[in-house]
C-alpha cells in the first residue's frame, strides 16, 4: 500500500489530517529517494515546515508536497556536510539492515544493486524511484520532474543499464508458520 499521493483517499482538508494520512508514506518515499533515513527526515521536515505556512493556498497538497520533496532532493547540497557523524547513505542502510529474512546468497546481488542505486545521478534515481517505487507513468514523472516524457524514458533507460549488472537469480523462500 504505497502512498502514491495520487488521490487514493479523499484529500484531507486540514494539515493535521494530511500528516496523519500521508506522513509515513512521504518519509518512505523520501527514504527510497535519498537512500538515507536521516536525510529523508531532514528533507520532509523542511518541506512540511514551509508547506505548513501556506497550507490554505495549496490546491493539491499530496502532489505539491511530493514535488517539493523531490525538488529538495534534487537540489540538496548542504546538510550532509554538517552531519559529520552520519555515515553515507549506503552505510546507514547497511547498519539499519532490513527486517525481513533473506537467504545469505542473496546479499551479494542485493548489495550490488544497492551500491549502484546509491551511485546513480540524482535525476536518474528520482525517475526510477517514481517509476518503480511509486508506479508513476512517464507522463506523471515528466510533470513532477518538469521535463519531457522522452527525457524520462531516457533517464530510466540509462539507470537500468547501470543497474543491469546487479541482475541475479534469486530463489523462493517458504512462508512462516500459522500464528
Amino acid at each position: 500500500m504505497t502512498d502514491t499521493g495520487k488521490g487514493e483517499t479523499p484529500m484531507p482538508p486540514r494539515f493535521d489530517d494530511f500528516l496523519t494520512d500521508r506522513l509515513d508514506g512521504l518519509l518512505r518515499y523520501a527514504t527510497a529517494l535519498t537512500g538515507d533515513p536521516h536525510l529523508a527526515q531532514d528533507i520532509v521536515q523542511d518541506v512540511l515546515l514551509r508547506a505548513q505556512q501556506r497550507w490554505h493556498r495549496i490546491e493539491s497538497p499530496p502532489t505539491y508536497v511530493r514535488r517539493m520533496v523531490t525538488n529538495e532532493y534534487l537540489s540538496w547540497r548542504r546538510r550532509k556536510s554538517v552531519r559529520s557523524t552520519v555515515p553515507s547513505s549506503l552505510e546507514v542502510l547497511d547498519a539499519l539492515s532490513p527486517p525481513v529474512a533473506d537467504e545469505s546468497d542473496r546479499y551479494d546481488d542485493r548489495d550490488a544493486m544497492r551500491r549502484r542505486l546509491v551511485a546513480l545521478p540524482r535525476k536518474q534515481r528520482a525517475a526510477v524511484v517514481l517509476r518503480y517505487y511509486e508506479n508513476y507513468s512517464d507522463t506523471e514523472i515528466a510533470e513532477l520532474l518538469d521535463c519531457r516524457e522522452s527525457t524520462v524514458r531516457s533517464q530510466i533507460a540509462r539507470a537500468l543499464s547501470t543497474l543491469r549488472e546487479a541482475e541475479a537469480t534469486v530463489t523462493a523462500e517458504p512462508s512462516g508458520a500459522q500464528r
Binding site: L19, P98, P99
Partner: protein, 336 residues
C-alpha cells in the same frame, strides 16, 4: 506492482527500493517539529503546546508486575517485569489472529509507553523476490497528544466506520492490498492497524482488529540500554527487530530536552558478522570519524553516533555506559 514484461533487473530494483523505503524514520520527530513551528506562530497556544511537548520527554515508571508466559516448550516461565527500561517496556496489545505465514519482526516503544508498535511480516512463497513482503503493523498511541487526541472526533466523523466490542473505529483506507484502521482501545488509547500488500485487505484488517487483545507479557526485548546520559538529553525510543533471535538488531535513540528536541544520539547494535578492520577489542571503545564503536561479546557491534553537539568524550562516555543484557528474551523475533 511487478508487470509480466519486466526484466529481472526491474524486479530487483523494485525489491531494493521497497527494502530501502522500509528503513524510513518514524514520523514522531517530524510531527514534533511541526507542532513546535505552529506553536511559535500562534503565541496564544504556546503554553499549552509547550506543556504537551514537555510531557513527551517525561519518563513515567510503570509499576513492575511479574507475569507468566509460556516458553518455546510450553513451560510456564516468569515474564520480565514491565518497566521503563529499554529491555522491558510493555507492548500492551497483541493481534491474536493473523493470516497464515506472518511472523513478528519488530517492536518499538517510547520510554513512557505512549507509543508502542509491533510488526509482523510474511514472505511470499510464490514470488521469488519478496519485494512486497506483506506487512501488518499495530501501533498504539496516547490519546493525550496531538494528533491522536483528535482521533475520537475524527473517528466519529468518518464515513466508513466499524466497532470493536462496542468501541468506535474508522476504516481510513481500504483497497485490495492495503488498509488502515483506527479505533479506541479498551483502555482509552488509540490503536492503528496498517496492512500493506495483504490480500483482501479490508476483510483481513477487520478480522485482525477484532482479534486485538491486551497482552500482559510482551516486552521490547532490547539487550542494550542507555546508562547515564549527559544533562539535557533523554531517551526517546527503543527498537528491536530482525528475522530471528540470532539475526536481530536493536537501536536506542535519545533527544535533546531543549527545543527543538533534535535527536542527539543514536545507538545501534548489529549482529556479529565478519571482523571489521582496525582495533576492536583493546581498548573496547574507540573512535573513528565521529563514531564510537564497541564490540559486545556474543551480541555484535555497538555503534554510537552523535547527531548533535556532543563532544567526543561525551560520546565515548555514552558508549561505555551502555548496559548490556545478553539474556533478554528475544525469542519473539521470527515467531508467528
Amino acid at each position: 506492482m511487478t508487470t509480466p514484461t519486466e526484466t529481472n533487473t526491474e524486479k530487483m530494483l523494485r525489491a531494493e527500493l521497497a527494502r530501502i523505503a522500509n528503513q524510513a524514520p518514524r514520523s514522531h520527530e517530524v510531527r514534533a517539529a511541526l507542532v513546535r513551528a505552529e506553536q511559535t506562530r500562534r503565541r496564544p497556544r504556546s503554553l499549552t503546546l509547550a506543556a504537551v511537548a514537555a510531557a513527551v520527554v517525561l519518563v513515567i515508571l510503570a509499576v513492575p508486575v511479574v507475569l507468566n508466559m509460556a516458553d518455546e516448550d510450553g513451560a510456564a516461565v516468569a515474564a520480565p517485569p514491565a518497566s521503563s527500561a529499554a529491555c522491558c517496556r510493555a507492548l500492551e496489545h497483541d493481534a491474536t489472529w493473523l493470516p497464515d505465514g506472518f511472523t513478528e519482526r519488530r517492536r518499538e516503544a517510547s520510554p513512557d509507553g505512549d507509543f508502542q508498535l509491533r510488526q509482523w511480516v510474511a514472505l511470499d512463497s510464490i514470488d521469488p523476490v519478496p519485494h512486497a513482503a506483506p506487512k501488518i503493523v499495530l501501533e498504539t498511541h496516547s490519546p493525550d497528544e496531538p494528533p491522536w487526541s483528535g482521533m475520537p472526533d475524527k473517528i466519529a466523523e468518518a464515513a466508513d466506520r466499524f466497532t470493536v466490542d462496542g468501541r468506535a473505529g474508522s476504516i481510513d483506507i481500504a483497497s485490495d492490498q492495503g488498509a488502515q484502521l483506527t479505533w479506541i482501545t479498551e483502555s482509552g488509547g488509540i490503536a492503528r492497524l496498517k496492512l500493506t500488500d495483504v490480500d483482501d485487505a479490508r476483510a483481513t484488517s477487520l478480522r485482525v482488529a477484532h482479534s486485538v487483545r491486551p497482552d500482559p507479557n510482551a516486552r521490547t526485548g532490547s539487550p542494550i540500554g542507555f546508562g547515564s546520559l549527559p544533562e539535557g538529553i533523554v531517551e526517546s525510543k527503543v527498537e528491536s527487530f530482525g528475522d530471528s533471535p540470532e539475526r536481530s538488531w536493536s537501536t536506542l535513540t535519545a533527544e535533546e530536552v531543549a527545543e527543538p528536541h533534535m535527536i542527539a544520539v543514536r545507538v545501534e547494535l548489529t549482529p556479529a558478522t565478519a571482523p571489521r578492520p582496525g582495533p576492536v577489542a583493546q581498548p573496547p571503545v574507540y573512535a573513528r570519524g565521529g563514531y564510537v564503536e564497541r564490540q559486545i561479546e556474543g551480541l555484535g557491534l555497538l555503534t554510537v553516533s552523535a547527531l548533535g553537539s556532543l563532544t567526543h568524550d561525551q560520546v565515548v562516555a555514552i558508549a561505555e555506559g551502555i548496559t548490556v543484557d545478553p539474556g533478554v528474551d528475544r525469542s519473539w523475533i521470527g515467531r508467528p
